[in-house]
Subunit: 337 residues, 2 copies
C-alpha cells in the first residue's frame, strides 16, 4: 500500500467536508487505489495539530467550529507546520481573500517550495498568482491541482485541459455565479431587484454582502482562473471587462423574456484573430437553444466551443458543498491514480 | 522531440478525418507537446502501405475512397502490418461489426500483444470483448483508450473514469442515439413514425437500414461499453433490458407531450443495493428540468449522479464527424501528454 502524508489548511465548509469524505472513502482508497492517506497535520485560523501517525479523520471532520488547535497546539500556524512537517501533499481550503490571497497564498508557496503537491479550492491565490504558482510547481516537479476552484464539483478545468487537448478553444461561456443566476431567475418571474437579492440570500446562494456577486467580481475571479489554467493566458482581474447587475431594472429583464430569449449572467472568453482572448463578464440575452439557457438557477455550467470537438457543454447541480469538497479527492486521485 | 510511430487501420469517415487532424495539428503537437507523430503504416479493407519514415498525412487524408493500397501494396492487410512493423501506437477505426467485432478485434488483439498502445473509436470490439482487451493491455503495460467510442467527441468515459474518481456512481442516464432522438423529436411535432424515420434518414442521422437504431441495439452497445469501462462491470449485450421504438404510435408521443413531459430514448444504468447495476435502454417521459430533457434532437448527452459529485451532466453538439475523429488525438495526448 502506498502511504501519502497529507497536510490540510482550513477547516470550514470545504475543509471539514473533505476530511469527512476521506474518512468515508478509506476502504475505496485502499482497495481500488492502493492508497493510505494519512493526515499528518492540519491547521485552522486559531491553531494546529501535528500527528506523524495521522490524525483521527472522523474527529477532525466533526470539530464543527471548534479549532483543531484543541487537538494540538493553539496558535500553531500552517506556516509553522509547513516548515516543520514532511508531507507529500498539501490541501489548501481557507477562505477567499481577493486583496492579498492570504493566508492561502503564502502557504501554497511554502508547500510547493518544500516539494509537496498542492490541491486547492481557494480562488484567491489562483486568481492573483497563478503564473507564479505554476512556475513554482514546475520547478519542484510537483503538481498544482484545483479542479474544484472554478465551478464547484464540475470538472470545468479538467475538461478544458485534457478533453480538448490539441484543439484551439474558440469560445468559453459559463454560468459561474449562483447568486446572479438566482436573482435573474426571480426577476424574470416578476420580482424586483431588491426582493430577488433578499430571496437569493434566504436561499443561501448569495452572501449577506451581495457586492462580490452582483458587481461581477466572483465571476471575474473564476474567469481569470479559467483563462490562466485552460486558455494558457497570463490574465489578471483587470483584464476582464466587467458588468454588474446591481440595481438592474425589472423591465429590462421582462423585456428580454418577452422577446423569447433568456437573460443570463455569463463569464465569457472569445478567441480573437490575433490569438488572444477577449474576457468579459456580464448580461447576455441567450437564444433558448443555447446550452446555458436551459440551466436552472441553481446550476453552474460551461460551454466550450473549439475547432476540433464541436460544442461541448457541462453542468452541475450541487445542492450542498460536498461536490466542491470532493474535488480535492478527485485531484488527489489524479496525482496518485 | 519525442517521435511516436503510429499505425492506422480504417480510412473511412473517422480514420481519414483523424489523419487530416493530425496533419493540421502537426505544429501544435511539436510546439506544445514535443511530439512528432509519424504514420509508419496504414491499411484499409483493400490494401495497405508501409513507410518507415512516415506516410504523407495530407495525401492519406485526401484519398477519399481510393484505397491506401494504391500508395503501397493492394491486398496488404492490417494483420500483415502489425506482424511486420514496429510501432508505438495503433489507431483502429474500421466499421462496427456487432457479430464478430472483426476486423477490429483481431487487429486490436495483435497490437496489444505486440506492446502497442491502442486507441479506437470502434464499438464492436469494445462491446464484445472489453474485459479481454483490458487484460491484454495490462499484461503488456500499455493503454487501451476509446474516449470517442460512446458519445462521439463527448468525453463521457473520461468524465466517468477520472472526474468521478472515488465516488460511487448511483445512476448514469444518456441520450446516445441521434436517430431515435430525432425521430421522437419529429413525432412530438406531429409526424407519423414512418415519416419521422424518413426525415431522420434525410437528415443523415439514421442509417438506410434503421433497425440497429430503432430496435435499440446502438444504444445497448454504447451502454455496455460505459458499464464495462466506467462502472467496472463485466457486462454483455444481453445483460441490457432493451426496448425499441419501432412502430411507435404517434398518440403515445403526443400524450407525453401533453402531460408536460419530454419523451426521450435513454440508456440507463441504476445502482442497486447489491452493488450491481440494472442496465436498460428504452423510452422515458422525463420532467422538463431533467438535464436530458433540454437536449436538442441532434445532441448527445450524459448525466452522472454520484454520492460525492452531485449531478453532473455533459452534452455535445457534433455537426459532422470531426469531434469523434479528434477523440483519437485526445487519447494520443492523454497517453503521451
Amino acid at each position: 500500500m502506498r502511504r501519502v502524508n497529507a497536510v490540510l489548511s482550513g477547516l470550514g465548509n470545504i475543509g471539514s467536508r473533505f476530511i469527512g469524505v476521506l474518512d468515508r472513502k478509506r476502504d475505496v482508497l485502499r482497495d481500488k487505489y492502493d492508497l493510505d492517506v494519512c493526515l499528518v497535520a492540519a491547521a485552522d485560523v486559531e491553531g494546529g495539530a501535528v500527528a506523524p501517525d495521522g490524525l483521527d479523520l472522523a474527529r477532525v471532520a466533526g470539530l464543527r467550529g471548534t479549532s483543531i488547535g484543541t487537538l494540538g497546539r493553539p496558535g500553531l500556524t500552517i506556516l509553522d507546520i509547513l516548515r516543520e512537517v514532511d508531507a507529500d501533499i498539501f490541501f489548501e481550503a481557507t477562505p477567499v481573500n481577493l486583496k492579498t490571497g492570504e493566508p492561502g497564498l503564502s502557504a501554497i508557496r511554502a508547500a510547493l517550495g518544500r516539494g509537496m503537491h498542492v490541491v486547492t479550492t481557494n480562488k484567491g491565490p489562483l486568481a492573483l498568482a497563478y503564473g507564479e504558482l505554476r512556475a513554482l510547481a514546475r520547478a519542484s516537479s510537483v503538481q498544482l491541482r484545483h479542479s474544484g476552484a472554478v465551478l464547484g464539483g464540475l470538472p470545468t478545468v479538467n475538461i478544458g485541459q485534457r478533453d480538448l487537448a490539441g484543439a484551439t478553444i474558440l469560445r468559453v461561456e459559463a454560468q459561474v455565479n449562483l447568486a446572479n443566476s438566482y436573482i435573474l431567475h426571480q426577476m424574470a418571474r416578476g420580482m424586483s431587484y431588491f426582493d430577488a437579492v433578499r430571496s437569493a440570500q434566504e436561499q443561501g446562494c448569495c452572501d449577506k454582502d451581495e457586492a462580490l456577486d452582483v458587481e461581477g467580481w466572483d465571476a471575474v475571479i473564476k474567469l481569470v482562473i479559467l483563462a490562466n489554467s485552460v486558455l494558457g493566458m497570463d490574465a489578471h482581474l483587470d483584464d476582464v471587462q466587467r458588468e454588474g447587475i446591481a440595481h438592474l431594472r425589472a423591465e429590462a429583464v421582462l423585456d428580454v423574456r418577452a422577446s423569447g430569449r433568456v437573460l443570463k449572467y455569463v463569464a465569457e472568453a472569445a478567441y480573437q484573430e490575433n490569438g488572444r482572448y477577449d474576457l468579459r463578464c456580464g448580461l447576455r440575452a441567450l437564444p433558448p437553444d443555447h446550452p446555458l439557457a436551459a440551466l436552472g438557477p441553481l446550476q453552474m455550467g460551461v460551454v466550450y466551443t473549439s475547432d476540433l470537438y464541436g460544442t461541448i457543454s457541462a453542468a452541475i447541480r450541487e445542492e450542498e458543498p460536498t461536490p466542491s469538497a470532493s474535488s480535492m479527492l478527485r485531484d488527489l486521485l489524479t496525482i496518485y491514480g
